[in-house]
């Protein structure tokens, strides 16, 4: 009992020498040339880089939507490359929440039906999953939009439905590929305030953006260029997200992430 050892931060994502090649007819092009990246629990990593540098390709690999061509990807210590398609589907369903630039909601389904979709494939009964989906939508400030279809909602609202969908299954990591790319800066800031508060509550987040302003909401910036990591440093002057009123003014509906997480989320050291 002479010393108290600081607990080793738990590694959630570990990429070792990851390469990705796409087959184009007879020739193949290599998009990622060997990426080494480690993300620990509770981090907020922002991936930046010019268009075509391989950010989305990297995110798809992290999100288990795609497989590495070479190298190793360990998700929570497990080697993903050895998993069967069915196991990968289960990983996507349980461990990963994915948010896309263009929301990717199913147009015929209402907000709550979209949000509950991961639970549908988990085999959870209609009543239970509806309750969870409504709970998430309420945290996103969408209680009044529960039965609206995507076409009846603004871009910011749609993206919040997408975030609710990503969170409904209690994933270990939240992946966001340019989540504010289709939104104006005010609504974008509102989405960022949601992500920051989720991270404050303990969620591990990896986000892609090419907007330097947006990137400053993260804790660590990783730079990608032509399929190689060219930079990895912590954010020095982190931006604080706009408060609730600003968000309310921007969209009319009021995100209540803070309140929601304070009630239901786990306590996280500041």
């Amino acid at each position: 009992m002479t010393q108290v050892k600081a607990p080793e931060p738990q590694t959630v994502i570990e990429l070792i020498g990851v390469k990705k090649r796409y087959q184009l007819g007879r020739s193949s092009i290599e998009v990622l040339h060997g990426i080494d990246l480690k993300v620990s629990k509770g981090e907020f990593v922002v991936i930046m880089g010019p268009s075509g540098s391989g950010k989305s390709t990297l995110m798809n690999i992290i999100g288990c939507l795609d497989r590495v061509s070479e190298g190793t990807y360990l998700l929570a210590g497990e080697d993903v490359s050895s998993k069967t398609p069915v196991q990968l589907a289960t990983v996507r369903n349980r461990k990963i929440g994915f948010v896309f630039q263009n929301y990717n909601l199913l147009p015929r389904l209402t907000a709550v039906e979209n949000a509950e979709l991961p639970l549908v494939y988990r085999g959870i009964g209609p009543a239970a999953r509806r309750r969870k989906a409504i709970e998430q939508l309420t945290k996103m400030g969408l209680a009044a939009r529960v039965h609206h279809k995507p076409s009846e909602m603004s871009g910011g609202e749609q993206q919040r439905v997408a975030i609710a969908r990503a969170l409904v299954g209690d994933p270990e990591i939240l992946l966001a590929d340019e989540p504010t790319g289709n939104l104006d800066s005010k609504v974008g800031a509102q989405i960022m305030s949601i992500l920051v508060r989720l991270n404050d509550a303990g969620m591990t987040i990896v986000m892609v953006t090419h907007d330097p302003e947006i990137a400053l909401y993260g804790k660590r910036i990783v730079r990608l260029k032509d399929g190689l990591l060219v930079g990895d440093e912590p954010v020095q002057h982190r931006r604080t997200p706009p408060d609730e009123h600003e968000g309310a003014n921007a969209e009319g509906a009021q995100p209540r992430v803070q309140a929601g997480l304070a009630e239901g989320g786990e306590a996280v050291p500041a």
Binding site: L65, V86, A89, R92, N93, L106, R108, Y121
Partner: protein, 389 residues
């Protein structure tokens, strides 16, 4: 996800495009409608014809001269046959003519059948009023007759015909009785007839010959062996083969059953082909639908749907299309067979078998033609699907 939810998801996708779903089902609706409608007509015809033949008595044998051989039969041939064929219980010489009969000022064109006292037992056809003529009446060539229900109604109306005289070819016949009604079937009316003794009938037409012989096989004797024996008897008599045609009611029944069964199968096959075409229509639309919903498939896969989930979802859609088409088709087919029965007078029987067959086939069509599009959907790469615009 359980079956009910899969069905609910598939149902919503179809409801989202009602017109397309209906048009896709139309092929199956028409195919199944034809199966039910046509098979029911075939089945109805078979049932009616065989009932009719059985009503005549399935133990009957008909003997008539083969056409174009110049052979003619006489009453003596019938008597001779009775002596030589112990397996026959009754042997009746028969002729029939189309003639006009008169009562007072009323006339009626009908079929006059010249028969013997054995007619009622042979044909299972008895007088309702009065009595049939006797062997004595036949031997004495008495001018007596029995009339069918239709003739009685048209000539006599409400008057009791028994004991009245009707005129056939200028000669007066006493009505001994009225035959019971057998009802019309297959365009023939057994009630539209006048029965006279064979001897009287031959005298009336100044003929020495009869047209055919009807005989009854004793119980326990084989129909085929008996007809063979009769054939042999006539071969010996005329010293040549193929001079007469001998066929039993049982063989006729078998033939009719076979013919109508073949007809049913052929109608069913034609209908089956249209069902197949309907299935191809379903496959076509499902392939279009898979392409249109590439993005949806990508999204579902990205959030954890397994290939099996996607496969089931699309497969159930195609089965709903085909089974829904099948059910609507059954209604259409029942309606069709009702209409055919009413308007065209075709007998029709919708059998449980044909309904089950139609349902089974349409579900099978849905599965068969749904598998390819569904597996195409299931195998889609989620990233490519998400990129798809």
């Amino acid at each position: 996800m359980n079956m009910r939810e899969y069905v609910a998801v598939a149902w919503r996708a179809l409801i989202g495009n009602k017109m397309r779903a209906f048009l896709t089902m139309l092929g199956v609706i028409i195919g199944v409608g034809c199966v039910i409608g046509l098979v029911s007509v075939g089945e109805g015809t078979r049932a009616q014809v065989s009932a009719q033949i059985q009503g005549l008595g399935s133990d009957l044998v008909m003997i008539m001269p083969a056409p174009g051989r110049g052979i003619r039969l006489k009453i003596e041939d019938a008597e001779d046959l009775k002596q030589r064929a112990p397996e026959l219980s009754r042997v009746m010489p028969t002729s029939s003519f189309s003639m006009q009969v008169k009562y007072g000022t009323q006339t009626k064109d009908t079929t006059v059948q010249a028969v013997t006292q054995d007619f009622p037992d042979l044909r299972n056809f008895y007088p309702e009023r009065g009595k049939f003529f006797t062997a004595e009446d036949v031997a004495a060539r008495r001018k007596v007759c029995l009339i069918g229900k239709t003739v009685a109604d048209e000539l006599f109306g409400n008057t009791n015909p028994v004991g009245k005289d009707i005129v056939i070819m200028g000669q007066s016949f006493t009505v001994l009785g009225v035959m019971e009604s057998k009802g019309t079937a297959l365009g023939t009316n057994p009630d539209d007839t006048v029965l006279v003794p064979i001897t009287t009938g031959m005298q009336l037409t100044r003929s020495r010959y009869i047209q055919s012989i009807t005989a009854q096989i004793k119980p326990g004797y084989d129909a085929k062996a008996t007809t063979d024996h009769i054939t042999a008897i006539f071969e010996q008599k005329f010293r040549r083969s193929d001079q007469v045609r001998v066929f039993s009611q049982e063989e006729l029944l078998n033939t009719v059953n076979q013919v109508t069964r073949t007809m049913s199968i052929m109608l069913g096959a034609i209908a089956g082909i249209s069902l197949l075409v309907g299935g191809i229509g379903i496959m076509n639309i499902m392939l279009v639908s898979v392409t249109e919903r590439t993005r949806e498939i990508g999204i579902r896969k990205a959030i954890g749907a397994r290939e099996r989930d996607i496969m089931t979802q699309f497969l159930i859609e195609s089965v709903i299309l085909s089974a829904g088409g099948g059910l609507l088709g059954i209604l259409l087919g029942m309606g069709l067979s009702q209409i055919l029965a009413r308007v065209a007078g075709w007998p029709s029987v919708v059998t449980v078998g044909s309904v089950l067959m139609a349902v089974g086939f349409s579900v099978a069509v849905g599965v068969f033609f749904g598998i390819y599009p569904a597996s195409k959907a299931a195998r889609q790469d989620p990233i490519a699907a998400l990129r798809y615009e």
